[in-house]
Symmetry: C2
Amino acid sequence: VEVPDRAPGKRKGRRPGGEDTRGAVLAAAREQFAEHGYDKASVRAIARQAGVDSALVHHFFGTKDQLFRQALEFPLDPRAIIDVVLAGDLDGMGERIARFALSLWEEPVVRTRLLATLRAAATNERAAQMVREFVKRELVEVVAARLDLPDAQLRVELIASQIVGLAMTRYVIGMQPLASAEIEQLIALAGPALQSYLTP
Amino acid sequence: VEVPDRAPGKRKGRRPGGEDTRGAVLAAAREQFAEHGYDKASVRAIARQAGVDSALVHHFFGTKDQLFRQALEFPLDPRAIIDVVLAGDLDGMGERIARFALSLWEEPVVRTRLLATLRAAATNERAAQMVREFVKRELVEVVAARLDLPDAQLRVELIASQIVGLAMTRYVIGMQPLASAEIEQLIALAGPALQSYLTP
């Protein structure tokens, strides 16, 4: 599992365009997108949080949506997901997916980025489009092609829908007892539900 | 299916029940619910802030939960959901829930308000708190109390998570083929997944 890492060498005295600055801008972007959603987040606020000028952000990252895409591409490496999903037999796939997703979200950095992506997608059509295209091309099509099931893409997307819904209700809405349930209990319940999507 | 309606007596002029009063009451309700949460907000305080009598608020908006739904534009009457969910045996409950949710969202008005609620909850902690408290008290606790299952509340919330996830991926993110799938096909696939949460 590739856990997104912080920019290396966080030191004082950042140089414009250096690794430190890039990392600071991307971290600020993820935080601002997560907190305010795509529309309300501003490049100015992102630049301010990163301690740099807006013009520098535009120069190195382009437009707001280009910055978003760069910030977005970090939550997960789709290849890592695919490796886990396909590493084993079909019978255990539901549980593997549930365990992978729920374990990953225990990482605060991953969770912050996932929620930033969800909030952006929920409030902005272009962000939704970015997520949609990215997930379909990098994840759904690849996994579905390896499954010998009718309507494989639809089934994979329904699994994704349960994963998205878990993130929304557990971390965003914070429903209780769901938000504080142990992940092993959630895996035991969600695994069979996901598995049912893999049962023709 | 009860589609949220406007209160009766929609007239012009600054009379009790007129547009001005309605707007003032709804604005006060949003503020009080946002500030104090669903449980602690009181109709009396809302009426006071709007400069009207509590009896008038009840007359035009109904009970506290009806007022809340109108203020937040919450798309569903929890009692209607509960009636459908509990009207039949446990074996068919997953399919009934899937059919109810997916059919309801075909109504543009319901869908618009559902998505407004989801977006508000996704981007605003106070809205999330309101949704969380409202759903728990009016829906999760009532349904769970009628189910003879261990961890009944958690199971009901996991079902809610799948419903939320379906709304997000089908209508907000717009994943394909999920977004354009026929609802009968989705019911056939999601019904068993929801049912697995009802299987001890």
